[in-house]
């Protein structure tokens, strides 16, 4: 995935909408902050998710963090490779490290999320 084509949540998830399937992952900034990822707890296919709510947890050596869904809908796919190799997310957060795919309602947009530029501005200001 080209980061320029994605949208971003304040909580460092990225989203990509194609038709009514939204793919969700974590940004490079987020995984770099986490460093040593040891476990990712993902929901099951067909589970509902609500925009703004946690859909799972990502665990590093030092801490556990929630991951928040930027959209509402039902889970259609979960990246099972992360179960056996959580480091995929650190090495390739925008492609092989995708987390979940959510089927959203017709007419859903990602307009409420940030563009790459806006997200980069957010992280720049966070670092101070």
């Amino acid at each position: 995935m080209d980061p320029k084509t994605l949208r971003y949540a304040k909580t460092h998830e990225w989203a990509y909408l194609e038709g009514n399937i939204c793919t969700i992952g974590l940004t490079k900034f987020a995984v770099d902050q986490l460093t040593d990822v040891i476990y990712i707890d993902l929901p099951d296919v067909d589970d509902p998710v609500t925009a703004g709510d946690s859909f799972g947890e990502i665990e590093s050596v030092k801490a556990v963090s929630d991951m928040y869904s930027p959209v509402s809908g039902d889970i259609t796919a979960v990246n099972e490779k992360l179960e056996t190799d959580p480091t995929l997310i650190s090495n390739d957060p925008y492609d092989k490290g995708w987390l979940i795919k959510v089927k959203v309602e017709k007419g859903t947009t990602l307009d409420h999320l940030m563009t790459l530029q806006q997200y980069e501005e957010q992280i720049a200001s966070e670092e101070h």
Binding site: I38, Y39, S60, V61, K62
Partner: protein
């Protein structure tokens, strides 16, 4: 405001992520905890441990005071020897775990950063007019550890004294670039290595020389995963004012027959109490880490609590230390651990989880073979 070691600016300037620990701003990691951990297990890692309290003792009555507060026997120590022990309260609970150093003309005790002020006050309270002078040297000195199979080789020629000549758990005064320092063959990682106490004014110079020699800077994150693999207790987790040394499996550090010391009577009773929870090692079936506070269950009943847990880089498993009811301490006992609402299967395994390859065993790791600590 948290305290800062003489190396704080260096840590910031080199990507150290700072957290507050025991009242000090310390680096938890520079790159990755796993990378730093692996560096110690395979080569050599560098730790700023200047936050630990360094107390020195002078005067004719130093030994009697130390003997009064310390559970191990300082009187049988040789000059230059370093010995681990506990300082207990009157109920036998642990106030701190410490290293005592014996010198020809004095003593030193290294205490945990979080307990420094508490122990200084405790010693003061028990001086009772004795001829002993205690100096807190923490702020005027630094302490740096080099740990790993290559540690000794990379430190060759660093100080006047040769660390390779030092026996394990021995120390010597020596010089670094002409100034006095103390070199000891001690550590908290389960690997061979040294710790150096030097003047605070030499901290940066000493640290930078070690970095140039190829020792990799490591933070407290790796320090924690390393000591956990080696089953070394951490104050505030496996040790506290409510836990006695026998429960912790540290009976080897308590010399009941050396004479009276604070907590001895209570410890006599506690040692005989077969109902008290004991420290065990757990290996978990899954990949999620148990954390401090996680409940340990058997048949749906809580039978213990986790005190430390992680997924260990060297062993590549989820491990934890926990206190469990005595009926569940046998190696092989199966139980479950509640990790944030989901249970994981676990079983009791022998400690330590990791032991380095040589004949020398880590002094402060394993509980005695008898889980009741007698």
């Amino acid at each position: 405001m948290a305290l800062r070691t003489p190396l704080y600016d260096w840590h910031i300037g080199h990507g150290g992520r700072i957290v507050e620990f025991g009242g000090w701003d310390m680096p938890v990691q520079y790159t990755s905890i796993v990378e730093e951990h692996q560096a110690v297990r395979t080569a050599a890692g560098l730790f700023d441990i200047s936050h630990m309290g360094r107390l020195s003792f002078a005067g004719a009555d130093a030994l009697p005071l130390i003997q009064q507060v310390y559970t191990n026997n300082a009187a049988t120590m040789k000059d230059g020897q370093v010995r681990y022990g506990l300082i207990c309260n009157e109920n036998g609970g642990v106030r701190d775990d410490v290293l005592v150093y014996r010198w020809p003309h004095g003593w030193a005790i290294v205490v945990n950063a979080s307990n420094r002020e508490k122990i200084v006050r405790w010693l003061d309270q028990h001086k009772n007019g004795r001829a002993v002078e205690i100096t807190d040297q923490t702020m005027t000195t630094c302490m740096i550890a080099v740990q790993g199979p290559q540690a000794l080789a990379l430190c060759r020629g660093l100080t006047e004294a040769d660390a390779e000549q030092l026996a394990y758990y021995y120390a010597t005064p020596t010089r670094y670039h002409g100034k006095g320092c103390v070199l000891s063959r001690t550590g908290y990682t389960g690997e061979d290595g040294i710790e150096i106490m030097a003047s605070a004014t030499q901290a940066v110079e000493l640290w930078e020389e070690l970095v140039r020699r190829g020792v990799k800077p490591c933070g407290l994150g790796a320090r924690d995963t390393l000591r956990l693999e080696a089953a070394m207790p951490l104050y505030g987790h496996e040790l506290s004012e409510e836990i006695d040394p026998f429960q912790a499996g540290l009976s080897w550090a308590v010399k009941m027959d050396k004479g009276d010391f604070i907590g001895r009577d209570a410890l006599q009773r506690r040692r005989a109490d077969a109902t008290l929870p004991r420290r065990v090692g757990l290996e978990l079936a899954g990949r999620r880490a148990a954390r401090e506070g996680s409940a340990v269950l058997s048949d749906g009943r809580t039978i213990g609590r986790v005190t430390s847990g992680t997924v260990t880089p060297t062993l590549n498993k989820a491990i934890a230390m926990a206190y469990v009811d005595p009926a569940y301490t046998a190696v092989g006992t199966v139980c479950t651990v509640d990790i944030r609402g989901k249970t994981e299967e676990a079983r009791v395994v022998p400690l330590p989880f990791y032991r380095r390859e040589t004949g020398e065993r880590s002094r402060v790791s394993a509980p005695s073979a008898n889980p009741l600590g007698r």
